[in-house]
Amino acid sequence: MCSTPPFLLNYLYIPAIATTVLLGFFIFYNNYKKITNRLFFIFSIIIALWMLFNMLNFSSTDFDSVLLYDKLSAIGGFIPAIFFIFVYFFSDDLENKSTISKRNLYLFLLPMLPFIIFSATKYNVQGLTDPPECETIAGPLYWLFAAVIIFYTAGALVIFFKKFKTKNNEAKKQLKIILYGFSFSVTWVLIINVILQIFGFPNASLLAPIGIIWLIVSISYAIVKHQFLNAKLIATQALVVALIILIASQFAFIVTTINKILTAFTLLIAIVFGWMLIRSVKKEVKRKEELEVANKKIDQKNVKLSSANREISKRKEALEVANKEISERKEQLQKMADSLAIANDKLKQLDTAKTEFIGLVNHQLLHAPTPIKDYLAMLLEGSYGEIPENQIKVLKNINAANDRQIHLTEDLMAVTRMESGKMELNFTKEKMEDICQGVYVNVEPTAKEKNLVLEYAKPKTVLPELVLDKSKIFEAIFNFVDNAVKYTPAGKIELKVELASSSNYKPQSLEDQEKKAIAGQVVRVTVSDTGSGISKENIAQLFAKFSRKDAAKLNANGTGLGLYLVKLTIEAHGGRTWAESEGEGKGSQFIIELPVKTPEEILERMADKK
């Protein structure tokens, strides 16, 4: 019969084994795809078994059982090897690398081969000493195997520190945790084996294997942290399960029925509350995760919002720039409007100045001839006494010469006004027949004196009324007829007015070529005479301003402006005027055409006046 240590030692082993299995199981259960997790599971199972066999070794009394368990606990030799492999793959896993290759794996495990073969044989554990000690007797290979174990442990540490240098901060943290766990385990073993032995607790060395629990816990923690497995949940689950197992394990030791019942109740309560606790922790974890997800979404939205905000600010800026531009343009426009207003005012001033100037010039030019005319009139009337016969003619000549001056001034003024647009035309609806009649009546006495026949051919049908300035048109027609009488030595002068369906316009001067004939119906006035006619060269110059030499003769008052004025007047009415002659000595015709349809400009001017 081998001696056994106090039962308490066994009791401490059971939770340790349970925790190891549970941690390994939970890590595996949460992510079994990862090599790390699988390795850890194997690691924890082997450790659990090793601890189990150790416990059974100590607590067995039967010699053969002790020997058996002694041999079986050689399984502990695998622990460093697996630890070695684990450290290698875990640190790679931290970098998200998978440098796993089957070849490397087999290489690592090669030294284990003999160990596996011979660990259960007498080459490892030869036997036991006699009871009650039942201590292990080492075989020839025992120490070799010990060396292999140390080799793997050392190897693991070497890899450990190698990886420790080259990894990122997060990885470093994880490796640190494992290192701490390892250190704690080693420290535990040292304390148990060395210190407690010194203080005379030889059996305390049986507790040493439990120390490995620290390494297990630290590795689990490192894995959980790295794989973002929820530590809280796992811990809760593990704790609850451990508690249940602990309570359940009491059944192995309690005897009385009351105890059993109480224990059963405790177990039931533990299960129920444990389950509820796990559920609530799960919920909380879920909520936390959901919150995190929601927070992440909010963050994303915030990012979007801030970029949208930036967009808006950009657009705002752009708008402000555009607004600035608009107000600048507004200012520009305002300035332009102001300049325009000023220019307009100036134009008005100029216009007024022009009018006043014309009036002034008119006044000045007539200032001299007027009293001369008046004196001559009074002299000839006899207001200053009787004038001798021979002087009367002289006075009359003076008067005529003076009148020429007055007429020149009047013509000049008329032309100036027409050209400046200052001639006020008084448009009214009139009968052309009446105007021609008026001219005829006016000139007839003069024609009679010269023994000329003056005829007025009244139209057979009534002519349409025309919109025109009566006095100006009268003057124009009068000009032609009076001219004809003056320059026809003998014969007939005919005044005719008629309605024609289209214009006969024959432009004479170069500039006239560009002028279009009147469209539609016209009222045509023709003054024909049997006079000296007009040569081709003269006809072109006839209506020109200040027409030269011979042509000038034909101007009524010899001012060179008479016919030009007629032309301006007629064209201001939208009409056309020209002369025709077959040549010198063959008489001439002077024609005026006015449109039946009142031209637009005239209608506008009449509308403006109102």
């Binding site: 009018t355 006043e356 014309i358 009036g359 008119n362 006044h363 007539l366 200032h367 001839p369 007027t370 009293p371 005319k373 008046d374 004196y375 009139a377 009074m378 009337e381 207001s383 007055i406 009047e410 003024m413 006004r417 200052k422």
Partner: protein
Amino acid sequence: MPKIVIAEDDKFLVDLYQKKFSDSGFEVFVASNEKEVFDIIEQEKADVLLVSLIMGGLEIVKKIRQEGSNMKIIITGYYDVTEDGKKAIEAGADKFIDKSHFIPAELVEEIKKLMEK
């Protein structure tokens, strides 16, 4: 005898008008500025005023009409480009006469016609 006041800037015309109107049976008074015009009108109770635009005819017309007088007023000038003659008529003058178109005898005729109205 009808009384006429002549306010004319052209001294030759003054001489001419004076002779003609006297010969035609008017009592003639000559004024050389606005003040004299009003003095004579008041003193003599003249029937007709013959005033040129240059002599301030427009203003004189306005003032006379403002005072409520019905005396005949003729404004003289040359071609009415600036429309002052028109304005004078609107202000109450009886006629505007273009001096270059009316010899003194014709002027007298016109005034006699006016007085008969």
